[in-house]
């Protein structure tokens, strides 16, 4: 019998992994919480502004469609859309079991399933990271990802005019989709100074050459901004949002390279909406639950993988944003390699070598992106005592600092339980990295990614016994 590979996440990494594992001859179950395959990449589907440059952007899209169709139509691939992995169960030995809820998220009584694969590929991606600032909890302040998803999916602009701020290369595609959807973008603010951004991008130009597609895309976005006369300013950030019940104006200011505010440079800009992004936080709860070690990098914690995308946990592979933030092509390449190895493919095969080289180039590119868009250590200087740090529980910066400063309550868990930071519905997905950073060095830390219930599960669903699954290629669930 051939190997059964379960892949969690059907973004570029997961689709790549499915293709790799299928190629190696394995039976694949591809699981994703959304209805559609494609992950973040699908949500940023560039068809809206494909009009701006139908040729190239459309070309990339066709590549994605080919991969998707190849995988989903493959006889050995079982595609489980609307299937959420809520828990991963480690055994004493061997590959962990995957606990899945099948069915529409809002529907009552999703079905509980358990998959026991020979190998598991984790590709759950990342989510938007937003640093807090006074007023960030006001309605009208959006994560860039949310704004973009609305613009693409629903052709809805979050407001008009809109200001886009934060750090990272994804400021540009977000601006582009909002412009395409018809919004007036006032300006795009990159918090890092031009020198840092340029140094990151210009160092080691040969890597740029191998990633020409990616860099070319960025140039195109920049061109679009120029045509619409949208200024792209570096070394400036939104340090406060103000408004009565909804954002009405943004306060922007010049930043030093460490992101401390240059006094006297504040400017007030009337806005209807504000989009912010400070990069991505990898979704590490599944790899942590599977027993994978994490690698600490200057850009934060990621899943540790070896040259074949093997994690430190037996039978578990990782690909895509959970191993580093590098964009869709990097994620896809890692996925192909992870899937090939997980599916029992020969690590010495020529194509595996080629994949490793492409992966390494993509990784180098990702490292450069991270270097060009670091998060300045002085950002907490924007915060005030009453600034909300955890939006679910309305924990303020002041109360967090007081709890951390008090020696009797000074442990990460005591601070968390005492201030409730991270205990609300988002389970610290938004505020977790922020709180960890604000507390680092002040209190002994706990693992902020320890979240054994990875996704909410209703009591009724939990109480009902699960169905065990063994793959049977003739009984594809998705074909029923």
């Amino acid at each position: 019998m051939s190997r059964h590979v379960v892949i969690v996440g059907a973004g570029p990494a997961g689709l790549g992994a499915a293709a790799g594992a299928l190629r190696a001859g394995a039976d694949v179950t591809l699981v994703d919480a959304s209805e559609q395959p494609g992950g973040q990449y699908h949500r940023m589907l560039p068809d809206a502004f494909a009009a701006a440059d139908p040729g190239r952007l459309h070309h990339g899209w066709q590549g994605f469609e080919r991969l998707r169709d190849h995988v989903l139509r493959h006889p050995r691939c079982d595609w489980w859309p609307e299937s959420t992995v809520w828990s991963i169960e480690r055994h004493d030995e061997g590959t962990p079991a995957v606990h899945v809820l099948r069915g529409e998220a809002d529907a009552a009584g999703r079905e509980r399933r358990v998959l026991q694969p020979d190998a598991l590929v984790l590709a759950p991606g990342a989510h938007d990271r937003v640093l807090p600032f006074p007023g960030w909890e006001l309605p009208g302040v959006y994560t860039a990802g949310a704004a973009q998803a609305l613009a693409k999916g629903e052709r809805l602009v979050v407001g008009d005019p809109v200001l886009i701020a934060g750090s990272g290369p994804f400021l540009l595609p977000v601006a582009a989709s909002l412009i395409e959807a018809g919004a007036t973008v006032l300006e795009v603010l990159e918090a890092n100074p031009a020198a840092t951004v340029a140094r990151g991008w210009a160092r080691r130009p040969w890597e740029l050459a191998s990633q020409a597609g990616k860099a070319g895309e960025l140039a195109e976005y920049a061109g679009l901004l120029a045509r619409h006369r949208v200024p792209y300013r570096t070394g400036r950030a939104v340090i406060e949002a103000r408004g009565d019940g909804r954002v009405e104006e943004a306060v922007t200011a010049r930043l030093r390279p460490d992101w401390s505010v240059v006094p006297g440079t504040e400017r007030t800009v009337p806005v209807d909406a504000l989009c912010v992004t400070h990069g991505f936080s990898p979704q590490l709860e599944l790899p942590v639950a599977a027993g994978c070690a994490l690698a600490r990098t200057p850009g934060g914690a990621f899943t540790e993988v070896d040259t074949d995308q093997c994690t430190t946990a037996p039978g578990v592979y990782a690909a895509g944003e959970i191993t580093g933030i590098g964009g869709a092509p990097a994620a896809r390449t890692e996925g192909l390699l992870a899937g090939w190895i997980a599916g029992g493919g020969d690590p010495g095969a020529r194509e595996a070598g080629a994949l490793r080289r492409r992966r390494d180039q993509a990784r180098a590119f990702a490292a450069r992106l991270a270097a060009a868009h670091p998060i300045g250590a002085a950002w907490p200087g924007w915060l005030r005592d009453e600034t909300v740090v955890c939006r679910c529980e309305e924990t303020t910066y002041g109360s967090l600092c007081r709890a951390a400063g008090d020696e009797a309550s000074g442990s990460a868990r005591a601070v968390k339980l005492g201030t409730r930071a991270g205990l609300g519905p988002c389970q610290a997905r938004v505020c977790g990295p922020t709180a960890a950073e604000l507390l680092s060095g002040k209190v002994p830390g706990a693992n902020p990614h320890h979240r054994p219930i990875a996704q909410p599960i209703r009591l009724g669903e939990l109480a009902s016994p699960p169905t065990e699954n063994t793959p049977d290629p003739d009984q594809k669930e998705s074909a029923r």
Binding site: S87, E89, R90, H99, A108, V114, E393, D406, E407, A408, S409, G410, S411, A412, R413, A414, L417, G418, R420, L423, G424, P425, Q427, V443, P444, A446, R451, P452, I453, P456, I457, R458, L459, G460, L462, A463, S464, P465, P466
Partner: protein
């Protein structure tokens, strides 16, 4: 001034440090991690008399229940402890359970516990969302709850105000002995001298005892709790299934669970809890969580659609005869134990600290402390210290 080293800054160590510092001892609290980072942060905060039958543990529970309000009264951090004397309701869902509950409550009443029979109307008024499928319900107005880490850190802060020193990130490695006495503790941060040492290391106190060169059979017993998304007020008391009593009093290794349902100040509902003997294995088992969910739904079927957003678990410090250990070590002069409270260490910490203080001062404790002696066979037996 007599110097006392307290090993462990959990609920029990915090309560002991506070009492001892207030009694005039020079106290140093040592924890290898941070304050309230162990079991205390991984359980629930029930302060119960309802689950204890007549006997020494009930006496300790009654003493603790009396002391808690006094301890928190006027404490600047009392708010963090979230003391809530909301009362508990124990329900039996079967005829068999109803019989056992009737008998159990009768015994408790004789021992001075308030246990009020509830009729259908009173139950429906008290807990409108509870299942109507109840064979018997008893209300225990004395049951209360605290937020364990808040309570522990409040008591630690009180100890510090009374002169205690707190040393975190400092692991106890061994004993310094002179002439058959313990005169200090070797730690990862150097030697800490003391005229007496209190072992309050919770489920690790067996291991700590071993490091200090003595024997103490305290083992971990795993427990898990589910947390729902915040809800409008739905559950108003602490509500337990009557087989809670059965689960506590057993030592079976395999899974047991009994429903304990309570709302927290944050609006979430805590659903506990399981009891398993798995050593220090901290993996959460979906099938265990499933059993907890099923038990809770038997009491509150209307919660079926409510999302569970979190689960956590800890290791109860378990002694085979289900009684805490409070008293002097029989083999090593100057060493004291305050541990082994299993699933009740939060509630029992207040009484434990008062009893320990009196014993260390050579005074008569408020209750008979003999049943908690460290030289009893259950504690000194050749146990596999898991």
């Amino acid at each position: 001034m007599t110097r006392i080293v307290v090993l462990g800054a959990g609920m029990v160590g915090a309560a002991c440090a506070r009492e001892l510092a207030l009694a005039g001892f020079a106290v140093t609290v040592v924890d290898r991690s941070g304050p309230a980072a162990g079991t205390t942060a991984h359980g629930e905060g029930n302060v119960l008399v309802s689950d204890k039958g007549p006997g020494p543990e009930l006496e300790l529970a009654k003493l603790s229940r009396e002391l808690w309000p006094a301890i928190l009264d006027g404490d600047p951090n009392a708010d963090a402890a979230e003391w809530d004397p909301k009362g508990g309701i124990v329900v039996a869902t079967t005829a068999e359970g109803a019989g056992a509950l009737t008998e159990f409550a009768e015994g408790q009443r004789k021992a001075g516990v308030t246990a009020e029979e509830m009729d259908v109307a009173a139950l429906a008024a008290a807990e409108p969302h509870l299942t109507r499928d109840v064979a018997k319900a008893v209300r225990y107005p004395e049951d209360a709850q605290v937020q364990p880490t808040g309570a522990a850190t409040a008591l630690l802060a009180a100890a510090v105000r009374a002169g205690a020193e707190l040393r975190t990130g400092c692991e106890a490695l061994g004993a310094v002995r002179r002439g058959g006495r313990i005169t200090g503790v070797r730690t990862s941060a150097g030697t800490i001298e003391g005229d007496a040492v209190v072992n309050a290391a919770g489920p690790w106190s067996g291991e700590v005892a071993k490091r200090l060169g003595v024997r103490l059979d305290v083992r971990p017993r795993r427990g898990e709790v589910l947390v729902t998304a915040p809800m409008p007020p739905t559950v108003f008391h602490k509500v337990y299934d009557a087989d809670y009593v059965g689960a506590v009093g057993s030592a079976a290794e395999d899974l047991q669970a009994s429903a304990v349902v309570e709302a927290t100040r944050g609006g979430t509902i805590l659903l506990g809890s399981s009891r398993r003997r798995v050593g220090f294995d901290d993996r959460l088992r979906p099938e265990v969580l499933s059993v907890i969910a099923a038990k809770a739904l038997r009491l509150f079927p209307m919660l079926a659609g409510v999302p569970v957003i979190r689960a956590y678990g800890g290791f109860r410090p378990f002694v085979p005869d289900h009684l805490p250990v409070i008293g002097a070590d029989p083999g090593l002069d100057g060493l004291w134990h305050a541990t082994g409270h299993e699933g009740a260490g939060i509630g029992l910490s207040a009484g434990t600290a008062a009893v320990l203080r009196d014993l260390m001062l050579g005074r008569e404790p408020a209750i008979d402390a003999d049943p908690f002696r460290a030289d009893r066979p259950a504690v000194q037996s050749e146990g596999e210290n898991l």
